[in-house]
Symmetry: C2
Subunit: 233 residues, 2 copies
């Protein structure tokens, strides 16, 4: 399977990488083996089957974008779901909620336009960040915390981890990176979610990945960015 | 099947209504039969299975939010897909792209916070709308136009319409309502998409729905809102 994503930032691609690594699904991280230019060229060649944006995978006949859809596809293909349709739909739904939240995280530092620099939309970002911290982070994290709690924990499927757990881990790591003051002040507010964040790195093949050079650090080209002024308490 | 969505605006719920009406899938529009308060109360009672936001459906054991997931679930359940996995995945992906675009449409008039009034974020909205018209609308609409073109048209599956076509119809209707000057100026730029917009209302059960009182008009409580200053050419 080929994974295509920007090579120099964790971004949405990292949600796919983490799940593949944890599940030992083999993949080639194409743009990291080649270049960002190769990704742009590859997208161009896909023409009518071109996904709207990376990440996307190529798996024989399947060319597929949209992070939650890729994760659900991989889970189904490798028999890693719950085996019950209504439960798998709940997991898919949660993964889509995560994707919505990730888009909101990005829009905090890019409230006006994707194609403008942060420095050109700082005033709006500052205003937005205050609402984001006060309203949106708690609303989403309580939602995810409730979902884990209702399974009995420690994972969203009880004893079995799924793509939702690896994604929630990355989400919490990203928030800790981007909003360290806020997240520290709120510590203990979503205990089940903090539990998932704590135990996902113990999944054995994932521990190895996280310690490797393949794991890309959060940085200010990605979705989770640390700008002190947006984490003001 | 129960559909739960805000009773007084088309919003995301209308994408579900249109598909059900076109496909003659029976549903009860619960909050329109009862009230917005009944929706809030119902969500509260769902506890750990509560979707993040309306619309959601209740279909026996299945409680499901996320518009694209609901549409794909209904398409699968009623055997309305292509019958080929990779093609159905493409349709699902396109439906998720539509949902992303719908979120961007909403963020044009709410760039700072969902919970603030438009009048409290007009300056940022004005700035954002210029980029949205210049960059985001063409980027998305060309993407959808290409997807239809690659099937040979007139629908995204050639001769067969799917949930993607009813959603693209609603998307185009919404953009015509919200940005009439822009859309008129751009007419002819996405001919396949305009084609879908033109023929979807001919799907027989849908024509009846569109002419009925059940069809909710676009308004300034919804996602597609017409504010003249955001459509400035």
């Amino acid at each position: 399977m080929e994974l295509w994503y920007w090579p120099d930032l964790p971004g949405r691609g990292e949600f796919i990488r983490l799940y593949c690594e944890a599940s030992e699904i083999e993949y080639t991280d194409m743009a990291r083996e080649q270049s960002a230019d190769a990704l742009v060229e590859h997208m161009h060649e896909l023409q009518g089957r071109r996904p709207f944006a990376p990440p996307y995978i190529v798996d024989d006949e399947v060319v597929l974008g949209q992070t939650p859809l890729i994760l659900q596809y991989l889970s189904d293909k490798h028999g890693l779901g719950s085996g019950e349709m209504d439960v798998d739909l709940q997991l898919f739904q949660l993964q889509m909620d995560i994707a919505d939240f990730v888009e909101e995280v990005h829009s905090v530092h890019h409230p006006i336009a994707h194609d403008l620099f942060y420095s050109d939309q700082m005033d709006a970002a500052f205003e937005k960040a205050a609402y984001f911290r006060a309203q949106r982070i708690p609303k989403y994290l309580i939602h995810f915390d409730n979902a884990i709690a209702s399974s009995g924990g420690p994972f969203t499927l009880g004893q079995q981890w799924t793509h939702v757990d690896t994604s929630l881990f990355q989400l919490m790591e990203g928030l800790d990176y981007a909003f360290p003051n806020y997240m520290k002040a709120m510590q203990g507010s979503w205990p089940h979610l903090e539990g998932v964040q704590g135990i996902v790195p113990d999944i054995e093949p994932l521990a190895e990945y996280l310690a490797s050079e393949r794991r890309i650090e959060f940085n200010e080209d990605g979705i989770f960015r640390h700008y002190e002024e947006l984490d003001d308490q």
